[in-house]
Point group: C2
Chain length 192, copies 2
DNA sequence: TTAAGAAAGTGATTTCGGTCACACGTCCAT
DNA sequence: ATGGACGTGTGACCGAAATCACTTTCTTAA
């Protein structure tokens, strides 16, 4: 294995695009590479959430569990997304959510202190603002389809928005995201 | 009516807090004051969405209508919130959402061009990023309570998070936000 | 190759919440 | 004061989806 494989490169994260070469060299070591196996937890319940994670490759789910251990999926995050338990990250408190890999995945972790530092020093807040707005719009669409609570429409919206994800996510997991039972989901996409 | 009443002051919008007096003078004229009566539309369907609105006082609802004119409420916005039809604002296209006043409300509108300009010139992106992250966390909580779709829990979460809003919003409107029928909402808070 | 487990399909039954219908009260404007 | 608009409460009914129980198919690892 060569050295080159272990060090982060400028086009590994789109965040670096707006930085000069010297700025990139300043910040590159703040991003900590880590590899997880399918099924591994990046964040487990009650972890202290020290990092926000850039997903370099793979697929993860951000979930919440209720009192009877029923799972609900807040979001899927795949290549080029940032994800973490945001309430816990921002307040530097214990997680109430879990972040678990649906595939082998590679991440770059950025600590809270380093995150706040680069916002100020390199005015990268515009980058994160854009990501956040996109997320906000996606969330609103999600809320809308949940409000309408028509299982068929929800499934079809997912199909339309994320056709490529459909192959990567088991139906038994997808239903935890759509908020419908495994059985109705199964019955859905055959009667169409 | 005196002059002073018509001009924007530094503590009218928390955004101005991070600006020096001279910076404030530079940008203050970009914010356009407008007053709406209860029931008025700030954004009607198919409007070109030119502004993002800071709610100075009052209460508005951001809604979506489906094909049979059924209404769904994406969010309520009250004092010190920014609101608009974000997809339409960011792409400068026609609105698919409506923004309507539940009370007499005062707003400061900021145009898209001026918005993008002040992000760069005065690095106010950190301010908007913080607002956006807060919105993101609120949206995730909302998604979670919709996923669980237990009417009782949804109502109780709203009660807990926004107790003061409860008095300002008719039950017949609240149910469009909670995603439950007027009747079940009515039956809910007496059998507890 | 096979055994074990995970994921998915399907029928039967139940239940929660939506819809419909109507009554009641309050607040204005005529 | 009267009529109308609006917001709300409540009963009866019905249907879509959850739940339960079981089978079948697909993975994966020994």
């Amino acid at each position: 294995m060569q050295d080159a494989d272990l060090s982060i490169k400028k086009d590994d994260i789109d965040l670096f695009a707006s930085l000069s070469d010297s700025e990139f060299l300043e910040v590159k070591d703040l991003f900590h590479y880590k590899k997880y196996k399918k099924g591994a937890f990046i964040i487990a319940e009650n972890d202290l959430v020290k990092h926000v994670y850039f997903i370099r490759s793979g697929l993860v789910k951000l979930s919440c569990f209720d009192d009877d251990h029923k799972e609900f999926i807040l979001s899927f995050a795949h290549e080029n997304w940032w994800e973490t338990d945001f309430p816990a990250f921002y307040n530097q408190t214990k997680s109430t959510l879990t972040l678990q890999c649906l595939e082998d995945t590679e991440t770059y972790g950025l600590s809270f202190d380093d995150y706040t530092a680069i916002l100020d020093k390199h005015s990268l807040s515009k980058y994160f603002l854009e990501k956040s707005i996109k997320g906000h719009i996606a969330n609103q669409n999600r809320i809308l389809s949940l409000l309408k609570h028509k299982p068929k429409e929800q499934y079809e919206q997912f199909l339309q928005l994320y056709p490529s994800l459909l192959q990567r996510i088991p139906k038994s997991v997808l239903c935890l995201y759509l908020g419908i039972s495994r059985e109705t989901l199964s019955r859905l996409y055959k009667t169409r």
